[in-house]
Symmetry: C2
Subunit: 146 residues, 2 copies
DNA sequence: TTACGTGCAAACGTTTTGCACAAAC
DNA sequence: GTTTGTGCAAAACGTTTGCACGTAA
């Protein structure tokens, strides 16, 4: 299936109309290993001669995130970034340049269960745990050279 | 050691002067199982009759975070929160009300190693991995009642 | 044809800055 | 005495809103 058809179907299955703004946004994030900030998206789209208004971008980012199509996370300096929310994956963040890489895990998270801190009376046992996200921090190859 | 002495020492070991603002901030976060937003800190301190200016709060939060005394993380709706950066610990976040609990792990993260995604040519092997932070998401007991 | 999406400009909340004065060392 | 921290007000920044018009279904 080619890209625009894939986007249409993705939107349809989530009961979202297929619009120019949504296609442009998903066009950026789908099949790209990048994690754009809203600002970067605006710049990139402007570059491509397909400008989008700020309001429209933010409105759509929110809808797409609410529907679970996109995932929002905060990278270096708490800058918000978005990526396509495919199956569960994890991140490694460079503490130097802020670069983010998606990673899989060698080993499983299944055996990891939250446990109350030693000196706390917490109600942790009553929580319903839904997801686990592991974030690695480290230094990327480029930043090691300096 | 009593609290104010503990704070003085903490600051001294990080080459930071002992000032009113820093003592108030650390006074809030030390030994408290809460994760304040900047706004909540301002309100709480005002409440205690020890008001702090916005500028001073933010300047100090930045310095304390840079020195590694505090840790910053983004909770529900990407609201920034701070906690004392003691030994490694993990978080569980309620997807409903945004409540955050510190947790330990039953089981170890040691065997978890980042692995490239299947369809990617990444330079992951060259990264230096420093830390791992696991975030659970779920629903807290209070929000299950509704 | 109706509900929803878009762009503009203005509003909003949070964080940062410039500067004069005060406190820490 | 020098360096660093503080408070104020103003500015900057990212995000959201109100509204008139355009588009998808």
């Amino acid at each position: 299936m080619h890209k625009s058809a894939e986007i249409k179907q993705l939107l349809a299955t989530h009961n979202l109309r297929s619009t120019r703004a949504r296609s442009l946004i998903l066009g950026l994030l789908l099949h790209e290993n990048r994690h754009y900030t809203p600002d970067e998206m605006l710049a990139e789209l402007k570059n491509q001669g397909k400008p989008l208004s700020t309001a429209t971008l933010y409105q759509n980012l929110r809808q797409l995130t609410d529907k679970g199509i996109l995932a929002k996370f905060s990278g270096k300096n708490s800058v918000l970034r978005y990526d396509i929310n495919t199956e569960e994956h994890n991140h490694i963040v460079c503490t130097d340049c802020g670069r983010v890489l998606d990673v899989n895990l060698e080993g499983s998270l299944d055996h990891l269960i939250p446990k109350p801190l030693p000196d706390t009376k917490s109600d942790l046992a009553q929580w319903l745990v839904a997801t686990k996200h592991l974030e690695f921090k480290g230094v990327c190859p480029d930043c090691q050279k300096v």
